[in-house]
């Protein structure tokens, strides 16, 4: 049930909402309403050092209107920055995946910027737990 030599304290990481909102505003002006972003992360991380993330933006990727950037943020890490993906119409699809470090239970946020100035956002909580005690 319980680890020995436990190094990880999975208490809720303190969300720095200010830093997250500043990062979003510097990219897209205002914090968008949630929607249009399918953000896939495990509900409970198997390993906080490598948490798989994938996203797909529900938007066209044509020459006129397309997704240009997707910023990934983690609101409970020492710094919220995770990555910024840059797309072109040749990407075909505004989707991608990577793996990130999470210092504790927190929200992961994806913000998409479109070429027409609009923006979209998705959010998901990931729990980082001690583990043990399965049925």
């Amino acid at each position: 049930a319980v680890m020995t030599g436990m190094t990880l304290f999975p208490a809720l990481a303190i969300a720095d909402e200010g830093a997250v909102n500043d990062a979003i505003k510097s990219m897209v002006g205002e914090v968008p309403a949630e929607g249009g972003v399918s953000l896939d992360l495990p509900e409970i991380a198997e390993n906080g050092n490598t948490v798989p993330l994938s996203f797909e933006i529900d938007a066209p990727m044509g020459d006129d209107v397309h997704v240009t950037d997707v910023m990934i943020l983690a609101d409970g890490n020492p710094s919220p920055d995770v990555a910024v993906f840059h797309f072109t119409p040749m990407s075909g699809k505004a989707a991608g995946s990577t793996r990130l470090r999470l210092a504790g239970t927190q929200n992961v946020i994806a913000v998409a910027q479109l070429s027409d100035g609009s923006a979209m956002m998705g959010k998901k909580q990931v729990k980082v737990t001690i583990g043990g005690c399965g049925g």
Binding site: V2, T50, K127, I130, G135
Partner: protein, 541 residues
């Protein structure tokens, strides 16, 4: 035995258990969470099984008298004995043991004979772990037993605790049927490790069976045993498998799942096109299906105590009618299948003398299942405190382990039924009061988080030497209070270090004697064990 058998047979016969008015073209048979119980046992259903949020008060979060009322089950009836904890000891003396794979074989074979070409027999996993012989043979005994039952497919959870190499070795040559785990990806390229779906033709109907392994295996169990495999619920992936199955002509789609009941209930609301979810992991036994939209959820209990039979009528590529029965496997009224009895005897022969060695006796009912400390857990905690000279004991909230009646012998089989794992070392270390609180809160959130996708499906960590209060409706970090060191009656001091003994650490390299030796030694020293009712945990539900 003779008297007990007679008592059980006065009220029940094998024909009663098999009675079923067949329907349609497809008969699904399901067992799950057998936990390596080859032989008949006693198994007491929980008296405490709390649900939070949307599932509060809904099956399976109903126990005891409420359960009887909800399902119109008469008190003292065979169903009352099988499905609840009500009058458990008395009814166990009347109706006898449950399970035993030779009895299960009799039922499965009888149904197959009645419905040749229509029957699909599926195993929900947690099959290879849970006994002395399964541990000694690294699961080979159960693989052979389920081959002999002519199982059509399985999924998995505790199977993975034999490690990645052993699982692959079993799949490469020992297992005769598909091992379906559509939600397991390799950690490097995130590509499927196992087959997800198998199509079966039964009664002229194409039935797709999709396997869903326990999503939190690398969290609930040591990830170092399966370093290259990643799990997860992955609803989008399940939807893809369902869509592929339909595209390939499936008329019936079955999810053979080890998600746990509440996770499956939520998954059923997110994924379109699943006809039946055969649930597992949380060990719930429900006498009726639960319907979510068009999806039927079936909960077949654990330890070989029940066999589920679900008949489906299929017309125009869709399920148009169904009939369900949860069949209790009452060992004393079922004639053992002779071939299966021989398989079991042969598997046990090399270990029989050790397995049946008597370590002591119990004065009290010994059980585990329930959200908080069961009496066998209290016994394990007693053993840890005494044998490891600790102030506080922690024991995992596993849901498996057979029940012992007052006055019964405690054998090696019985100890392994409660402790048989591949990472058994009983550690002894100091932990601060603050760390103990962190652990208790973390585990509590894994059970009582309002969103089932954030639950792990075990029960609360068992504690010895320490009392506490829990308010299950509070958020993470605020559920646990009044932690008290029982030896002094003083509150747990966040800054003080306590000597803690426990087992089943998910960390690699944990040191200490194996828990089954710790418990066996303790019982042998005691001779007769008694476990007073645990009054040191206060529950606010």
């Amino acid at each position: 035995m003779g008297l007990r058998r007679a008592a059980a047979q006065q009220t029940l016969t094998q024909d009663d258990l098999l009675r079923f008015d067949p329907l349609g073209q497809v008969t699904l048979l399901h067992v799950t969470d057998v936990h390596a119980q080859l032989m008949p046992i006693y198994f007491r259903e929980p008296s405490v099984n709390l649900g939070v949020g949307e599932v509060e008060g809904k099956p399976p979060h109903i126990t005891g008298a409420d359960f009887l009322a909800r399902f119109d089950i008469p008190k003292d009836s065979p169903e009352c004995y099988a499905l609840t904890n009500v009058d458990f000891t008395a009814l166990a003396r009347t109706y006898g043991r449950v399970g035993g794979l030779d009895r299960l074989a009799t039922l499965v074979n009888a149904i197959r004979a009645e419905r040749p070409g229509n029957t699909l027999f599926l195993d929900g996993g947690d099959t290879w772990q849970g006994s002395y012989t399964s541990l000694q043979t690294n699961g080979a005994d159960m693989v052979k037993a389920f081959n002999a039952l002519k199982t059509d497919a399985m999924t998995a959870h505790w199977e993975f605790t034999y490690g990645q190499d052993r699982v692959m070795e079993i799949l490469d040559g020992e297992l005769d049927f598909p091992f379906l785990c559509g939600n397991v990806l390799d950690t490097m390229w995130e590509e499927p490790v196992f087959e997800s779906t198998r199509m079966f033709e039964r009664g002229g109907v194409q039935v797709a069976v999709i396997g869903q392994a326990f999503p939190y295996t690398p969290i609930a169990n040591p990830s170092h045993l399966i370093p290259e495999w990643s799990f997860g619920i992955r609803p989008d992936t399940v939807q893809e498998h369902v869509d592929n199955a339909r595209a390939n002509g499936a008329e019936v789609v079955v999810l053979l799942s080890h998600n746990g009941f509440d996770v499956d209930r939520k998954l059923a609301s997110l994924v379109d096109g699943i006809d039946v979810i055969l649930t597992g992991h949380t060990h719930d036994a429900l006498p009726r299906e639960v319907k979510v939209g068009k999806t039927l959820l079936i909960a077949s209990g654990s330890h070989g105590k029940f066999l589920s039979r679900l008949d489906l009528e299929v017309k125009g590529g869709a399920v148009t009618d169904y009939r369900y029965r949860l069949i209790p496997v009452f060992s004393d009224v079922i004639t053992p299948d002779p071939d299966m009895a021989k398989v079991i005897a042969d598997l046990r022969a090399p270990y029989e003398a050790e397995c049946t060695r008597v370590l002591g006796q119990t004065d009290d009912l010994l059980y585990r299942r329930g959200n908080f400390n069961g009496s066998f857990d209290d016994l394990i905690c007693q053993a840890l405190l005494a044998e490891r000279d600790a102030e506080i004991a922690l024991s995992p909230g596993f849901r498996w382990g057979a029940t012992l009646l007052p006055g019964q012998d405690i054998t090696v089989d019985d100890v392994y039924s409660m402790t048989s794992i591949t990472y058994p070392n009983a550690y002894r270390q100091t932990m601060s009061g603050e760390m103990l609180k962190t652990i208790m809160e973390d585990v509590a959130d894994n059970i009582f988080n309002e969103d089932p996708f954030y639950q792990q499906g075990g029960d609360m960590v068992r504690v010895g030497g320490m009392g506490y209060a829990i308010d299950i409706h509070k958020p993470m970090g605020q559920r646990i209070s009044d932690m008290t060191l029982l030896s002094t009656g003083e509150p747990i001091d966040p800054t003080r270090d306590y000597v803690v003994a426990g087992w089943a650490s998910v960390n690699e390299g944990t040191e200490g004697p194996p828990i089954y030796d710790v418990v066996s030694n303790y019982i042998e020293k005691q001779g007769t064990v008694s476990v007073p009712e645990n009054s040191s945990i206060k529950i606010k539900a």
